[in-house]
Symmetry: C2
Subunit: 429 residues, 2 copies
């Protein structure tokens, strides 16, 4: 059996098959690590370090002796001969194939915006955003022209979903607290943080009162929330909304999502966003022996609505699929359909402030923030990561400082700042 | 006043001048962080994470309101008009200039070896070596040819000084313990780790018995120690010693050191290795108002011997120079000459094993290892870094695991492994 992808879906599937003698599993990923994406925004805003939310896939599956891990990039699937094609030319045959390749950003038909508005899906994305955010302050400290300085100190986050809300709140905390004493010529507290959302409210998947609370919390943190503002253009100068250019040196994309190209590999019909439709047993329709789950798949809840692209969905699907495949292959049992049980919707806004919605239970403020923190530390892979992240959070909470403000010297933005061409600009890679 | 370099020497000079009203200090560095170089080898071998030994210079100097920090790369000094030249064209005037630009690797007239044998001076060096070491195991797991696999599982460390000894010991710990259960086709415990030294013994600055102990400890860890072996060539294939090629995919350079080019900026005569001779007050001879310290400077002890390139030398020189400049500028007092007080020589070999030499006190084994650990945690900048590193060490000590095995997806070696060109090779950048 071949599993492609070491995210939540692929990893929990592999773990579910661990120890199943008679099933030889190969998990392929182009990275050596499993990434805990829900905390990626904290890497991008220097709260925690990249390694603290990444754990080698190999180390996680160390004791599952029937599972081997292969570092490689899948570029295609041959469903006729049942083989996976790697970029280096290797072909890996499979009897059963599990695709858990996740999703990436979508720029609504404007791929040219990506240069100026990176999204947040990988550790390199997070490192790049961290470098841009921190270097905007460095460049502003060196800038004499007031307009150019204002542009450097304007941060626009596009998309009012959980990622956008979390990013905007965390950048505000960075500017208004962590960096407040570190500069001599600029006052980081005067930085403008904009959260841009096309819909009438932020956190649209939450109830109206929680979403109103989130907006108030953001505004209290110093974020300017612009709802009913669709982004019309993104360029080196900044963003355009309602026909007006807002100069901004740093733009972060948290709006659209598109599935990875696994649907193309299979040659199946996908949704408009590239998601692969699967049946109640997570099998890809019309491709026997192929399963898809997590952010790649379009699975439906019992009420017929598509399941959201959340870590908990991928995690539960992986647990289900591992068990189901084991039963099917070893015992010839047909599995019951997958059923998603929501563990609640959570989002963090800033220091002491979050929202939690779980069936009829609603929490906001400090308690929601605490629930979110405990849940996320618990879900982290690796005992030492849990300890280290807890420590970082305690430190950030008590001192208002950020422990991971490292900028890699290889970053393109560092090179641009140092070369000074064009002056005061941070050209994207 | 301008200070160039935020390492131990530059930073402690700046801190010594902090709060001295009437002295405006600008510290320039091309990185945003101060780096604790003594633990760099632990980043290269995945024990701790990059951010844990780096602290933003700005954050360290936050409360020294007369000190401002500028991120920029110095490319020259005009001693006639007294100005520092940045790469982006900016000129920063100075009355007093402190040069603390450190040192880099020297390849004994073979700059072409650097491609194949990276040294260990910056965080990016450490990240690159970490990626190469970890990816050698990944590539070996995929390799079918036994000779190619042996080459991938051979690690050569060149130079038997503290850096080389520490690297070789740490790679042995990684291969023989941390990774031992993680692969299915290779046995990482069969990896060969070579330590190559031209002189008759390793740790040549220690006494003979400590250096014999270090050798035994390394051999117990599974390191092959080749003393009286000068490196004759380094290539993609491996290293050549005594006319014989030893195939090795991963070569780490820990041999020669050369000062940064600040001597050329000043147009002064330097030592053969580029070190800038300074007087007993750390002033550069023939360049009034210019001081040099740390790894850049060639300062002499009372007995006329040159001071070694150690963190403790730079640190003490910085403390001295901060005080001396304050006295000279604010009170017109001529300073007493600098005097180095050795805090002892320390090197770590592996789990439970190290050597300490301090005047007539000699320690080895577990006690030396403990002294080394406590001293280094104490010297780390940043309270949270101390906590996090202590945790990581406890974790590594108790579990034999490594907590920071992250490979960046942007790394050239990752790309090469994934593209598979040429098969099984990890071409250097």
């Amino acid at each position: 059996m071949v599993i492609v992808g070491g995210g939540f879906g692929g990893l929990t599937t592999a773990r579910g098959l661990g120890g199943a003698e008679g099933i030889a599993v190969t998990l392929i990923d182009r990275r050596n690590h499993h990434l805990f994406q829900p905390l990626l925004y904290q890497v991008a805003t220097a709260v925690i370090a990249p390694g603290e939310i990444a754990e080698p896939i190999r180390a996680i599956l160390r004791w599952d002796r029937n599972v081997s891990v292969l570092m490689g990039e899948v570029v295609g699937v041959d469903t006729d001969t049942r083989a996976v094609q790697l970029r280096d030319g290797t072909r890996i045959p499979y009897d059963t194939l599990v695709l858990a390749t996740g999703a990436t950003h979508s720029y609504f038909g404007h791929p040219e915006w990506e240069r100026y508005a990176p999204g947040l899906k990988t550790l390199d994305d997070a490192r790049r955003i961290r470098a841009r955010v921190l270097l905007a302050f460095e460049a502003a400290e060196r800038e004499d022209d007031p307009a150019a300085r204002d542009r450097l100190l304007t941060f626009a986050v596009i998309g009012g979903g959980p990622t956008g809300v979390e990013m905007a709140g965390a950048i505000a905390g960075l500017a208004h607290h962590a960096l407040s004493k570190d500069f001599r010529r600029i006052d980081p507290r005067k930085a403008r943080i904009l959260l841009i959302e096309a819909a009438p409210r932020v956190l649209g998947t939450f109830t109206e009162d929680l979403s109103a609370y989130a907006r108030q919390s953001l505004e209290r943190l110093g974020v300017t929330v612009l709802t009913e503002h669709a982004v019309e253009d993104v360029s080196e100068e900044g963003i355009t909304v309602k026909g007006k250019l807002i100069p901004a040196a740093t733009v972060v994309w948290g709006a659209g999502v598109r599935a990875s190209p696994a649907g193309e590999w299979l040659g199946v019909e996908t949704t408009r966003t590239g998601h692969v439709p699967v049946g109640p047993d997570l099998a890809v329709i019309g491709r026997p022996g192929v399963y898809a789950l997590g952010d790649l798949a379009m699975a439906k809840a019992e009420d017929g609505k598509p399941l959201p692209g959340l870590a908990q969905v991928a995690d539960q699907q992986g647990r289900y699929l591992g068990r189901a495949l084991r039963d099917r292959i070893l015992h010839g049992k047909a599995p019951k359909p997958f059923r998603f049980r929501s563990r609640g919707n959570l989002a963090i806004i800033g220091h002491n402030s979050g929202v939690v919605q779980w069936d009829h239970v609603k929490l906001k403020g400090f308690l929601a923030w605490l629930v979110w923190g405990v849940a996320h530390v618990y879900l982290l892979v690796g005992f030492h990561n849990r300890l280290v992240v807890t420590l970082r959070w305690l430190w950030a909470y008590l001192s208002f400082q950020r422990g991971a403000r490292l900028i890699s010297e290889r970053d393109e933005a560092v090179m641009a700042l140092i070369r000074g061409t064009p002056p005061g600009r941070i050209p994207p890679p």
